[in-house]
Amino acid sequence: MRDKTKVKLKRTVTGYVFLLPVIIGLALFTVLPLVKSFYYSFTEYNNITPPINVGLQNYKDMWSQMFFTKSVINTFVYAFISVPLGLFCSFFLALGLNAKLKGIKVFRALFYLPVILPAVASGILITDLFSYTYGIYNRIFMALGLGRFAFFTSEKTAMLSLIVYSLWGMGSSMLIWLAGFKSVSDTYYEVAKIEGGGPVWTLLHVTVPMTTPTIFYNLIMGIINSLQVFTPVYVITSGGPNGSTSTLAYMIYTFGMSYRKMGLASAMAWFLFVIIMALTLFVYKTNKWVYYEGGKD
């Protein structure tokens, strides 16, 4: 009995020794900054001189800051449109690329290519392509007699353009969809065929239900990523015109780094964290529609 306990203890210790580098890494680079930012959110802090306690003032003041309310709305608009749009488009793209055709792998690679391009580089590229005066798209529109489209230069169209641009990175979701499709056993499709199910019926009654874990994963990741959207805003629009594309993550960066108001930025970051946490929990709690072939565990 004693030997058994000793062996168990030894195994546990060995396990923790292996885990220790990760635990320490997480503690130093995730938990500690998290705790510190929570503390800073109750202080006035300029990154250098010691923080001054201001209680809940930052949580109150952030609402009166330039474009903050607008940024909250923009963040939700962006997330609520770009996530379903991304899911829908990447699903059908993956469906098309799942076809057993010669050379299909080349197309898969091509559609995945934007994901491996640095976000800043693609942002600059997009800025040029969509330029109001000399952008290639507006040149085409002009040649077709359609007139110019404002894209990122007008308050009315900038957010829409940003949402459409979010599809640029749908290659990563597409890859997960493809993996999901591959995991569905051919038996189901054969049965559907024998029963006389057409392609749409099979899609709705076999493919979609069997890939609900993939939908669930893509949905959760989509919500988290879209609520934290930063790089395209920073590179392409800088939050403009007139704050129409400003998002919470962009506000956090601007207040923390450009204005050196780290207390306010931390309060905004915690506000964003609460939103993401709440939405993620909500999606988790309502996941009865997800079908796990081998059971949930």
């Binding site: 292996f18 800051q65 330039m66 005066t133 007139n242 704050g243 780094m257 450009s258």
Partner: protein
């Protein structure tokens, strides 16, 4: 199996130690890196800046043979201000670093830069040796936190090819503001749908210093005298409306419009720039020249400056100060001048060909020199009661005032003007 486990545990322990070591710069497990043998200089990522600094270091070492320490030049790409702030907040500011006027207030308020005024007597330096405007931009109250390396006033660059194409005569020193605007309107080219294909002048509407110059010249104000609240007076309101109309006609480039038009891209005829722009313009345009900014109702010229500051936290403070005063000496200033980027801050070098032959001879170099009898407009931070909020005020001015006004049409209501003032006030708090 037992042996394998032992090896595995040992390897895990090694990984752990290496993880700690990786977080460390070499000064003990959690200690700060030892920088006793390295003198760090921070500059912005730029080929010309790098070359300039290397020449300065070589010159300094030649003149000071007792200095044997290694110099390490660290250049930061991207947003230089943000990089400096990150360095400052982690206590890693280089011993000496290139500074922008907009950051001087922040550094002074956080006491991380040295008051250079304390060293003037020791190094035989005085404000009288440099242009008073240059001395001004480095000051915060009675303290000096940056020594401006150059005299950098806003000038009017012009592209001769565009003027030739438009059949207009080149700008001259006798031009008034109205002459310039009239020529800008004639240079502008619009598409059938009213899109500006070629603009007359890039006034750089997102640069507060040129905006302040414009409003000051028109007799307008943007904020009160104390620098605590937005105050857009009637003249400034009229000037704003005029500016909006000029951007619509293409006379002035709408900087916020993502138009893809630029002076160096040869689709803008004139440009408000400073001396530091000259090398890039020289590389981009075949034929260009420069004149003073034409006179407005009030004759004004805007000034900005960059220079160097010394970190109060650095390990080589004395050496940094010594090197800085070398940069400000005639020898150091001459090295800077030869880059073509800089008009030396030393008044004694005003007529020197060391800078007047760069980036090319034969241009109107006097346009870069100090004008007398003209009101000087300084960077926005110098007008604020809290200069550390300069970045926020700049964004408020650009994003909450100028950009919405430029995209508006018709008369601007009193409540809109009031909201613009509130935006400026909030940013100055």
């Amino acid at each position: 199996m037992k042996r394998f486990k032992r090896i595995a545990v040992f390897l895990a322990a090694v990984v752990l130690v290496l993880s700690f070591a990786a977080c460390d710069g070499g000064g003990g497990l959690f200690g700060r890196p030892n920088r006793k043998n390295v003198f760090r200089v921070g500059i912005s990522e730029n080929t010309e800046e790098h070359a300039m600094m290397q020449s300065l270091i070589a010159g300094f070492k030649k003149a000071n043979t007792d200095v044997t320490i290694d110099f390490s030049v660290e250049s930061y790409s991207g947003n230089y201000s943000d990089k400096l702030v990150s360095q400052a907040s982690s206590g890693e500011l280089p011993d000496l670093f290139f500074t922008l006027d907009s950051l001087v207030g922040y550094f002074a308020s956080t006491k991380i830069t040295v008051d250079l005024g304390d060293y003037f007597t020791q190094y035989g330096f005085s404000d009288d040796l440099i242009y008073p405007e240059v001395a001004e931009v480095g000051k915060v109250g009675d303290e000096i936190h940056m020594l401006g390396r150059e005299y950098s006033q806003v000038v009017l660059y012009y592209n001769k090819a565009i003027f030739d194409d438009a059949g207009e005569s080149y700008p001259s020193e006798s031009w008034t503001w109205d002459d310039m605007i009239s020529a800008a309107g004639k240079i502008a080219k619009l598409d059938s749908d009213g899109t500006v294909l070629r603009a007359g002048l890039d006034m750089r509407l997102n640069w507060p210093v040129t905006m302040l110059q414009y409003f000051e010249g028109k007799g307008g104000t943007l904020f009160n005298e104390n620098g605590t609240a937005g105050q857009i007076n009637d003249k400034a309101r009229a000037a704003y409306t005029e500016l909006r109309d000029m951007t619509k006609s293409g006379a002035i480039l709408d900087t916020f419009g993502n138009t893809g038009l630029s002076f160096t891209g040869s689709n803008v005829g004139m440009y408000f720039g400073v001396r530091a722009d000259a090398p890039v313009i020289n590389k981009s345009l075949a034929s260009w020249d420069v004149v003073h900014v034409p006179d407005m109702e009030t004759n004004v010229v805007a000034l900005g400056a960059s220079g160097y500051s010394v970190s109060a936290l650095g390990q080589h403070k004395d050496l940094a100060v010594r090197f800085l005063f070398y940069i400000m000496s005639a020898e150091g200033q001459t090295i800077l001048a030869r880059s073509g980027n800089v008009v030396p801050a030393l008044k004694s070098l005003a007529d020197s060909n060391e800078w007047k032959d760069y980036p090319k001879a034969g241009i109107n170099q006097n346009a870069f020199l100090q004008e007398t009898g003209v009101k000087k407009v300084f960077p926005i931070s110098t007008y604020m009661s809290k200069p550390q909020n300069a970045g926020m005020l700049t964004d408020a001015l650009n994003k909450q005032v100028t950009s919405p006004i430029l995209s508006s049409s018709g008369a601007i209501s009193a409540s809109d003007w009031s909201s613009y003032e509130t935006a400026l006030t909030n940013a100055m708090k």
